[in-house]
């Protein structure tokens, strides 16, 4: 039996039966010094006692220990691993950093397929919308999914009927990678007619769910699933959403999580796209062509890289180096200094030389190289950082 998977499943069961919350589990693990969830199942009897649990929780635990799943736990774990379902949890290095920082993120995520698609280095776009799209909505969804996936973007959606299905299909037909976040355990397929797509994604993409295998779809859970959709993505594109569509939940989660929301404009008399129009009125970004989204992502990626560059070098060390041995500074270091200066405002060569104290020759040569590789451009006689796409 896979002890890691067993512990993850066990934690999910504890939470599903309201015996412990995710935070309680984490605090027990850190108090006991277990380091990871892996050994939680083996040691659960010793670490779960009246010291950590309230009487109510103790009652529910006792009840749970009499249930079939607990008594045949090993069989259950084997059933899950036979379905090629794996799990990651928040103590895993694989659990993405961009989700760690958000509140209300699941402790354990079950997956099937290529987990590298949630890597921080990849960019993801969530495409969601109504279950009953118009011809226009279908066309837009397919087209955007295709074009965006050709730019190496991962398309995230919910495998629901309508827009979600077209998003996944568009992506796969363009040879792209896609992630489906399911509202049920990964051994179930919902909706049933998407079985083929489900199988295909499990091989070519990634299926994700926070629900334990064996769990049937729960209608009231549908909105909560949307928070994972938006959390996984760099931005959310709503191709068509009705007035009270569940899709709008995704938009509000996205806004709360700091993800940009794009909406496709539509005619004002369209009933299937009323949600889009109200989103646009409320300040969502307009997506008229896939390039709108690409440009936003490029900007986001660029500034993320910029932050990395800034972090790497210790400015004070360099400043001392400029003073003491200006000739020993490498081209990389100069580039970092220049990027740093130029990221706050545009500057002329004279100003850079004065501000940085670097020799003129080094500055002009590095700027020349940067101009050639497109990192900077000259505007109004000043150097400006460009945004790479």
């Amino acid at each position: 039996m896979d002890t890691k998977l067993a512990s993850d499943l066990f934690c999910s069961l504890l939470m599903a039966n309201h015996i412990m919350t995710g935070n309680q589990i984490l605090s027990v693990i850190s108090r006991e010094g277990l380091g990871s969830i892996e050994s939680f199942w083996d040691q659960h009897e010793s670490v779960m006692n009246s010291d950590t649990l309230s009487p109510d929780q103790m009652d529910r635990l006792a009840k749970f220990q009499k249930s079939e799943v607990y008594l045949k736990f090993e069989t259950y774990v084997n059933y899950v691993s036979d379905h090629q379902i794996k799990a990651i949890d928040r103590l895993d290095p694989l659990y993405p950093g961009y989700m760690q920082n958000l509140t209300n993120m699941p402790l354990v995520l079950y997956y099937k397929g290529d987990i590298s698609l949630i890597d921080e280095k990849k960019s993801r776009v969530c495409i969601v919308g109504t279950r009953r799209p118009s011809v226009y909505g279908r066309r837009v969804t397919k087209e955007f999914a295709e074009k965006l996936s050709r730019h190496d973007l991962v398309i995230v959606s919910g495998l629901a009927r309508g827009v979600d299905t077209y998003a996944h299909e568009g992506c796969l037909s363009a040879g792209g990678k896609t992630i489906a976040v399911m509202p049920c355990g990964l051994d179930r397929i919902y909706p049933k007619e998407n079985r083929e797509l489900f199988e295909r994604i499990s091989k070519e993409g990634l299926l994700l769910s926070e629900l334990i295998p064996g769990q049937d779809p729960i209608r009231k859970y549908f909105p909560a699933r949307n928070r994972i959709l938006s959390a996984l993505s760099d931005c959310v594109l709503i191709t068509e959403a009705g007035k009270n569509s569940g899709t709008l939940h995704t938009a509000s989660f996205a806004a709360a999580q700091g993800r940009e929301v794009f909406a496709i404009p539509s005619i004002i008399y369209s009933e299937t796209a009323e949600g889009n129009l109200s989103l646009l009125r409320d300040g969502a970004s307009v997506a008229i062509e896939p390039e709108d989204i690409l440009a936003y992502l490029a900007k986001a990626v660029f500034f993320r890289e910029l932050e990395e560059i800034k972090d790497v070098y210790d400015r004070k060390v360099l400043e001392r180096k400029i003073k003491d041995a200006p000739d020993s500074i490498t081209s990389d270091e100069i580039r970092r200094i220049l990027v740093d200066y130029l990221s706050s405002c545009e500057l002329s060569v004279d100003e850079i030389v004065r501000e940085s104290g670097l020799p003129y020759r080094s500055v002009i040569q590095e700027l020349g190289k940067m101009e050639l590789d497109g990192t900077v451009t000259r505007e109004r006689q000043k150097y400006v950082l460009t945004i790479r796409i």
Binding site: S348, D350, V353, R354, Q365, E379, Q381
Partner: protein
């Protein structure tokens, strides 16, 4: 000179055609018949008027003007001639023909303008005339007194005269005792420039651009708002140029003497010319022309600076005329069945505001120009001319810090130091040309096509330069100009070969894209 008959006489004289000194022969014949005075030989009206000046001056000097039929011919008769310099030769031929003067010296060349009272006046083009004497077999050269300065500078022995009577006495074998040491000395060095290069402290980009322009004799475009020091930069550039060599000075003197703009001081000065041309300049004033084809501003800027302030204000026609001389180093002007070639090797320094109000770069919010006005303002300078600018030098208003710095003690090298450095860099360029077996030129003037070989670029560097040119969408000329600038950068570093780092720096001096200013 031998007399053909008692009634005939001939004298050699010198005249000016474009910038070339030419030898002509003046013949005078006296026949019996009704008194008349004809001058033939394709002379213009100034030569026809010479008749009256000659008649008056011969009389006022106490000689008789022949009361017979008098014919004067100026040969070669198929070439158009002009100017008043034939006066003295015509008068002398008449006096010889009438026998009032006996010629005691042989192989005489004589020129000068006469006044009604018999004084000899100077004429334009003394230097060209005297230079053509080198190929002529002459014994004595009688010139206006004023031309003696040029003659001694050139090392030509002449007899300077102030009156017709003096010229006659030289002819009769009595030399004027006006001996001056031959080879009039040129100034040893240049005076300190009026604006020192240390004024540019706090503007390293402009400093670099100016020293590069000087070191390779490159054309440069200065762009900046009003008051950022565009004219000042051009003046500074002049101050760090090395002195003219003797050969360069003589070539310049030819131009200046043809235009009669020489003074006693300017003859001996070795300062490189700085021509500040106003934007109302006409095409012929710029490149040369006029009825008798005189050199223009571009020739007066020979081996020096042609400074065009407010470039977009110039007429587009004038600017486009500059394109050919920039490429070929000379200007051909055809007049009167003959083509005059004027030397025109100069550094073109253009200065312009970025827009009409001048504010669109530094304070765009205050700029009152509409985008279309900016485009049309910048569009007045054709792309073809911009393509010929090796260095683009942006000038910005000096910040407070830099202003402060300019008040502090000065440790940066002064102009004379830079001048020495530039001279050394030029020497390196001349030396490389010599090794390659071509005439020594500075990088900016090099008109060879195999720049890669001549300028010592490796395969890697050539590929790099081509890649850069492709990326910056440079024309072939643009690429060549960039390579020349890279060579100058390498020369300033005293590097044998051009490396990629030099090419990279040259990139930053190419003109950035105009157009998307607003």
């Amino acid at each position: 000179m031998t007399q053909i008959s008692p009634k005939n006489a001939r004298v050699k004289t010198l005249y000016l055609q474009g910038l070339e000194g030419m030898v002509a022969e003046v013949e005078a014949s006296i026949f019996p018949g009704l008194p008349s005075f004809e001058v033939v030989g394709l002379g213009d009206s100034s030569i026809r008027e010479a008749k009256e000046r000659v008649r008056a001056s011969i009389r006022s000097c106490g000689f008789t003007f022949p009361n017979q039929r008098l014919l004067v011919n100026i040969s070669p008769a198929y070439l158009h001639k002009s100017g008043s310099s034939f006066d003295l030769a015509i008068a002398m031929a008449i006096l010889l023909a009438t026998g009032q003067v006996k010629q005691q010296v042989n192989d005489v060349v004589i020129y000068g303008e006469l006044s009604l009272t018999g004084e000899v006046r100077a004429v334009p083009g003394s230097v060209s005339r005297l230079l053509c004497l080198e190929n002529e077999n002459t014994n004595t050269c009688i010139v206006p007194r004023k031309d003696m300065d040029e003659a001694y500078l050139l090392g030509v022995k002449v007899e300077g005269v102030e009156t017709l009577v003096e010229a006659i006495s030289v002819m009769s074998g009595i030399s004027n005792e006006n001996e001056i040491d031959p080879l009039y000395p040129l100034d040893e060095d240049l005076p300190d420039p009026s604006v020192d290069i240390s004024t540019l402290r706090g503007q390293p980009a402009a400093l670099r651009a100016i020293t590069l322009a000087a070191s390779g004799f490159h054309n440069m475009l200065l762009v900046g708002s009003p008051g950022t020091g565009k004219s000042l930069s051009a003046r500074i550039l002049q101050g760090i140029l090395p002195p003219l060599t003797i050969e360069e000075k003589i070539e310049l003197l030819r131009v200046e003497s043809a235009l009669s703009v020489l003074s006693k001081e300017s003859i001996v000065s070795r300062e490189r010319p700085f021509r500040y041309v106003h934007h109302t300049c006409t095409p012929s004033a710029m490149v040369g022309g006029g009825r008798n084809a005189v050199p223009g501003e571009i020739s007066r800027a020979l081996n020096g600076i042609l400074f065009l302030d407010e470039l977009p204000e110039f007429s587009p026609k004038v600017l486009d005329l500059l394109r050919v001389p920039i490429e070929t180093g000379e200007m051909k002007v055809s007049r009167n069945n003959c083509t005059n070639v004027f030397p025109a090797r100069f550094m073109l320094i253009g200065a312009m505001n970025p827009c009409r109000c001048g504010k669109c770069l530094e304070s765009p919010s205050e700029c009152t120009c509409s985008p279309s006005m900016i485009t049309s303002y910048q569009g007045k300078v054709s792309g073809a001319l911009l393509d010929r600018m090796d260095i683009y030098c942006p000038l910005n208003h000096i910040s407070e810090d830099s202003l402060l710095e300019t008040m502090k003690g000065d440790y940066s090298p002064k102009s004379p130091v830079w001048r020495k450095r530039v001279e050394e860099v030029w020497e390196r360029q001349y030396e490389r040309c010599k090794q390659a077996g071509i005439a020594p030129v500075r990088n900016g003037e090099c008109r060879e096509n195999n720049l890669g070989e001549l300028f010592r670029l490796g395969q890697k560097e050539m590929e790099y330069a081509a890649m850069v040119a492709h990326q910056m969408q440079l024309s072939v000329r643009g690429l060549q100009r960039m390579v020349r600038l890279s060579r100058t950068i390498a020369d300033m570093d005293d590097e044998r070969d051009v490396k990629t780092e030099h090419i990279v720096e040259a990139v930053s001096f190419r003109l950035p894209n105009w157009g998307e200013k607003k």
